[in-house]
Amino acid sequence: MTATAAASAKGRRRDGPTSPRRGGKSRRISAGPLFVAPFMVLFLLLFLAPLGYAAYLSLFQERLIGGTVFVGLDNYAQALGDSQFLHGVGRVALFFLIQVPVMLLLALLFALALDSGLLRLARVIRLGIFVPYAVPSVVATLMWGYLYGPDFGPFAQLSRDLDLPVPDFLSEGWMLGSLANIVTWEFVGYNMIILYAALRTVPTELYEAAAVDGAGAWRIAWSIKLPALRPALLLTLLFSVIGSFQLFNEPKLLMNVAPDVISSSYTANLYAYSLSFTGQQVNYAATVSFLLGLVIVIASYGVLLTANRRSTS
């Protein structure tokens, strides 16, 4: 699918610009960079420049004596032996391994159910599941924080009425699960919509042919719909890698409610934030940000490579 699309696009571009008169061609060549320039200039200033600046800062240290000193890769050596940083990365990696499969599996099941044509109220269900995406993560976390809470959260109220032990969703043992629940609530609908949109573009002839051959609904889902969803699934997976490794908003806000459970280095991103804004360790914060970015890029490429290897074998 990808290969044919790319090939046809390339073919079109090749015969497109060369076919018109010479005047038209030269104007096209001169106009292209002008359309691209505004985006690229801002991209350089606001994307590549900060990235380069972070890399630059991470090579220095501020010292009481001697001011700012070039230290080479010392900051990186320090970060790789810093248990707070490593624990933060480990925690988001664990979060990723548990939360993302659950979220994407739910999104996939919902998308398949919506596409099956077997649902009543499909439109209401589709939009209702998607609505949390439009809720800011700050509001989502505040809401769930209150719902989890021991004072006026409905779960605690119900347990008290029924004389059951009150579940402490904000305790150390539950916290990662409680965070995972918030993120899942926020993003299942978004991923579902991407997958559903991809399913809608599969031509029905394929299903009809399969049905004629005697394939049932499950067989069609497994053999036709899932392979067709591969690019869209990969896209959602990549976004999930990026999202979960930079987990920040939810733990930062739950810190108010559960300061004893969520430390200032609970996630790697929270650690970088604390380092630069409460610890004033700008250079080390830049190092941690840069390393976290590196971890995410490596994880993303890992996902891509695994997916590609599986598709060729």
């Binding site: 571009r13 610009p17 018109p20 104007r27 096209r28 106009a31 292209g32 002008l34 691209v36 985006f39 690229m40 991209f43 606001l46 994307f47 800062l57 159910a113 099956s116 077997l118 009543r120 109220l121 499909a122 439109r123 269900i125 209702g128 599941i129 609505v131 995406y133 439009a134 809720v135 800011p136 700050v138 509001v139 809401m143 209150y146 006026f152 409905p154 109220q157 609530w185 299942v188 609908g189 997958l195 949109a197 809608r200 573009t201 690019p231 869209a232 990969l234 896209l235 990549l238 990026i242 920040f248 908003n249 806000l253 108010n256 409610v257 804004f277 830049a286 940000s289 976290l292 490429y301």
Partner: protein, 312 residues
């Protein structure tokens, strides 16, 4: 209306998907609906709507009633209007200020980002020039760079440029949306036929005029998709304004609400106890505009997403 939406109604304007989808109108309508599946999906729906239902109920309660009545039903003295009024008058009406700031930041960022992505995507898709492929691949690679890894160095750079604690600190970084550019390029390749461009050029139209008069219209659904998703990203942004702004008059709603929530938490049940009702009501008010925008514009973003999700 409540049964499965026919694809024609979902994607009326999508250049590529509508064409491809034409076959799907012949979806066998004789297929039976499944009641067990519907019930299972309604149970899932209940989970996603539960917190919002709670928020709606909770915003009708005083702080006392939040503690003293059952969370998932109204108390005996609902006071939604009182809460709304108090939310808007607390701290000299700062809440309205936060709301307007958010609308401004999100609106300017979304329109700007969508136009930049549309022009760039069109440029990359329809023009051949030196460095086209290299530049596009550079942007594509940047999709994987986490924005928060950039936030702290961006803050340090902005501090040097004197941009910290100004609206620009929020708007400028939101203008660059690498995924939006990718989406627009994919979209422009199919939605903008070369023949129309050639015809316009033969008529002597200038490139800028072609772009604003013809291309932007053809890119409609893709444009709305990038616009809406940038709108959401900026509206919901918390990390960037948290580090960039320290003047409460410049806060967007997210940072403002979280500062109120921290006050309510620290105040305990004492002096600022009525803050809690304000946080809850403010939360409800802050999510309404986006929910309405998404529901009203659904036909656009759904078809726009279709083209981005299929061609990876």
């Amino acid at each position: 209306m409540t049964i499965l939406t026919p694809p024609a109604a979902v994607e009326p304007t999508a250049g590529r998907t509508a064409g491809k989808d034409r076959t799907r109108r012949h979806r066998p309508s004789s297929r039976r609906r499944s009641t067990p599946l519907t019930i299972a999906m309604l149970a899932a729906l209940a989970y996603f709507l539960l917190p919002l239902f709670w928020l709606l109920i909770a915003s009708t309660k005083s702080t006392q009633d939040l503690f003293n009545s059952f969370g998932l039903w109204f108390s005996h003295a609902p006071q939604l209007l009182t809460n709304v009024k108090e939310t808007f008058t607390q701290d000299d009406g700062v809440f309205l200020r936060w709301l307007l700031n958010t609308v401004m930041y999100a609106g300017v960022s979304a329109v700007g980002a969508a136009l930049l992505a549309a022009a760039g995507g069109y440029g990359f898709a329809k023009f051949r020039f030196r460095g086209n492929r290299a530049a596009f691949n550079l942007v594509l690679g940047a999709v994987m760079v986490p924005t928060t890894a950039l936030a702290i160095p961006t803050y340090l750079l902005f501090a040097k440029a004197g941009l910290v604690n100004t609206p620009w600190a929020i708007i400028l970084p939101s203008l660059v949306n690498p995924f939006g550019l990718y989406l627009m390029r994919v979209y422009a390749e199919d939605a903008v036929p070369d023949s129309i461009l050639e015809a316009a050029r033969i008529d002597g139209a200038r490139e800028a005029r072609i772009f604003f008069r013809i291309v932007l219209r053809l890119l409609g659904p893709g444009l709305v998709t990038v616009l809406l998703f940038t709108l959401v990203a900026t509206w919901n942004n918390y990390f960037l304004p948290l580090i960039m702004l320290n003047d409460p008059d410049l806060y967007p709603i997210t940072v403002g609400l979280s500062s109120w929530a921290a006050q309510a938490q620290n105040g305990g049940a004492g002096a600022s106890s009525d803050m809690l009702a304000l946080v809850v009501t403010g939360s409800l008010i802050s999510i309404l505009p986006l929910v309405v925008a998404f529901l009203m514009l659904q036909r656009y973003w759904q078809s726009g997403l279709a083209s981005g999700g299929v061609k990876q």
